[in-house]
């Protein structure tokens, strides 16, 4: 019989090793799934994890994509991880991402075609503000009326999606677009665009913002009393109150930071890689970032690595669809497996597995 025994202190070895083990287990289970779909599992795994970076033909296109996809994931996941550590569950980053993009793009387009230096910085502020406002709604509802922020923030995503459709068909529609939905292309409006800085790298302002967020979150959690209070509130809420943490303030702070970072991610995306507001502007970064946050163990450095890994499976997954004809659902299932295994083997850092019969029942 197998049983679990709680460790006296969390194992440092397993805390580091579980993400690696989860990736390996995902490759095995995913490989079996690909085999069941009639594909060569080794080809599929290689196409997902290796070819995007090193394939002689495709790598030149897909390598810059790595940073382009990873940056919003990391930026959003960093914000979410602070709340998750404190036991505040913002599930609606996707909506905050949309609202940041809408407000940021709206500010930029309002100045069209003026060429002023402050337009892009102002859009950045507006983007963060849009995400922050959208996150404040579930935050205030929770602190005022004790609603569940998981449900409210999630439902706010669908509202944001509808506002996005309405905006791309109405207020923000490109007047010179021949009636097609979608806004002007910001990448063709230099004062409001977020261009690739070095050709062929995928480097843009969003990547820099993501790296800065990683460093800031690391310092906050390791060195600052606020980070300590965030961890404390998540681990032992009553001890946090005893330590003097104000639970209401913490909810507003964590929701606010995660909303603002998601809004920023949306702004950098709309002004850069996406270029414009359109009905299908959002592609699920806000939800995938939840996986990234947990895959990175809610640790800023872990999130950086997890974001890159997740971006790789996205790009590799697209490549596998295109090269091997794998269905999109299979790729999503593969990404789901990653989270599943991560949560499952996470147990090992706090418990050890013992084989043999129970000695006593308590």
């Amino acid at each position: 019989m197998i049983r679990l025994e709680k460790r006296p202190s969390p194992s440092r070895f397993w805390q580091g090793a579980t993400p690696v083990l989860a990736v390996v287990l995902t490759m095995i289970a995913g490989g079996l799934m690909f085999a069941a779909l009639g594909k060569n599992p080794f080809d599929a795994i290689r196409t997902i994890f290796w070819d995007p970076l090193f394939h002689p033909q495709f790598a030149s296109y897909s390598r810059p994509q790595l940073l382009v996809k990873a940056a919003p994931l990391i930026l959003i996941a960093i914000g979410l991880s602070l709340g998750f550590r404190a036991g505040i569950w913002n599930i609606g980053a996707e909506g905050q991402y949309i609202m940041g993009a809408l407000l940021g793009a709206g500010v930029g387009l309002a100045f069209y075609p003026a060429d002023l230096w402050f337009i892009f910085p102002l859009m950045v502020v507006a983007g963060a503000f849009g995400g922050w406002v959208w996150a404040m709604i579930p935050a205030i509802l929770r602190t005022r009326f004790n609603t569940n922020e998981i449900l409210v923030s999630l439902l706010m995503v669908y509202i944001a999606e509808n506002i996005l459709s309405s905006m791309s068909l109405g207020l923000l529609r490109n007047p010179e677009g021949g009636g097609f939905p979608g806004s002007r292309n910001l990448s063709q409006y230099p004062a409001a665009s977020n261009p690739e800085m070095i050709a062929g790298t995928g480097m843009h302002w969003g990547v820099i913002a993501a790296l800065m967020a990683v460093i800031a979150a690391y310092v906050l959690l390791q060195r600052h009393i606020l980070g300590f209070h965030i961890k404390l509130a998540g681990q032992a809420p009553r001890a946090a109150r005893y330590a003097g943490v104000n639970p209401t303030g913490l909810v507003l702070l964590c929701m606010g930071i995660s909303g603002a970072l998601a809004g920023l991610a949306g702004l950098f995306e709309v002004a850069g890689p996406a270029g414009r507001i359109s009905i299908d502007f959002n592609v699920g970064y806000g939800f995938t970032a939840i996986i990234v946050a947990f895959l990175g163990r809610l640790n800023p450095i872990g999130i950086l690595l997890a974001g890159l890994l997740m971006a790789l499976t996205y790009i590799g997954g697209e490549l596998a669809q295109f090269m091997l004809g794998l269905p999109a659902a299979a790729i999503q299932a593969f990404q789901g497996m990653l989270l599943f295994f991560l949560l499952a083997v996470d147990l090992l850092s706090n418990y050890r597995i013992r084989l043999g019969y129970k000695k006593e029942a308590i």
Binding site: P8, L226, L232, A236, A239, Y242, N246
Partner: protein, 508 residues
Amino acid sequence: MTRPDLLRVEGVTKTYPGVVANSDVSFAISQGEIHALLGENGAGKSTLVKMIYGLVKPDQGRMTLRGASYAPVEPRAARASGVAMVFQHFSLFEALNVAENVALGMENPPPMKELASRIRAVSQEYGLPLDPARMVGDLSAGERQRVEIIRCLLQDPKLLIMDEPTSVLTPQEVDILFKTLRQLAAEGTAILYISHKLEEIRALCDEATILRRGKVVATCTPRERSAREMAELMVGATLTPPARAGGNKGVVALEVADLSVASPIPFGTSLKNVSFRVAKGEVLGIAGVAGNGQDELLLALSGEVKAARDAVRIDGAGIGDTDPTTRRKLGLVAAPEERLGHAAAPDMSLVENALLSGAVRQNLTRNGFIDWPATERFAAAIVADFDVRTPGTQVAARALSGGNLQKFVVGRELSQSPSVIVINQPTWGVDAAAAASIRQAILDRAAGGAAVVVISQDLDELLEIADSFAALNEGRLTTPRPVAGLTVDEIGLMMGGAHGMEVAHHGH
């Protein structure tokens, strides 16, 4: 008179990783005997009775019940053999009534009506009046204990194990309980009575087995020994009572006036018009049966629950509506009763836990940035000064034993040069030597000019260290009185007497 042995325990040994809980323990209980199991916290009493009740399996040794081999694999088997146990912590559902709670503990409960009449009959017979239709959430601790006892008595036990039964009772309620236990013993039920309260054991028990560090160190007849002799057998050392400086008290440092707050705890007790004053250098002891507002009083004083501004004053300034950080800045420290999860974060290291409440007064942050080296020094100083047994300061709090964590938590608060100290259950779960050193440390702070409020359920402790004494009863505090000259009866009445519970003994 020699009565036949009911239960014999022979050479029982139980080892946990790193600890020998019981080593070669032997003793016997005869029918109708009240047998005390005496020992400090951690002496192995609980492990021993868990083995008798089938919760834990011994590694070695054997037990016989009425001459037959007895090795219960689970509590159900123990109950089937006639062994029943009343735990220190009740397992009752507050939102269910008495009869429903009793039914939940039975293998084949009879219909509710029949059960209710049986509960009434048994409760009358043993002088434990109890209304089967009442909600457990509304009962006092003493009445809840009655539910547990009656649940056991309905199984007609041959051996009744009682784990620290008087820790939740007033002196008057203790008297009622003892009458019941004597009546049971007279009818032939053996009682295994676990306690560390020596006077009770001298009053009640026929025989005593004294455990120290998992071994039987003595068996004696309690009536023939003095409490001091037994205490020294239990501790294995000569005890020195704490020394205290004579009391010239200063000005009032902490003043609580008409403090009323609703309890944030479900089924908790709200505080009603609590008033007291503590002067610099004074120790106020607050007694009371568990669940009469002790937790709420600590929360209201620490700042975790807010009250009216002028309900709590430090040095004359109203702070009743301020948060814990503000109060710490003014010199107030508080140590809650629950160590894991309230006073300390279980999964955090001792260093992080030192920061938890020490950040403000020890200046462990600069512009919000944590000074980890200073925090580590603070944690190491607590560990050294209060003899916390731990491999290091990076160990998670949950890895420490209860007593060691208690020393750490109390030490952390006392090490912050406080001017007002509020402690709930300062020596809960620590061994006698450590308890003595904690009490000494509290008295030293008082001698240094701190105003101290000690909330405790251990009357002996309060009488030993307090200058004045008050009791909490259903959220109300009695008027504090000087300890000198108080009698146990008066204290009992302050704690609420028998809580309206009548002695209903019939002459059998």
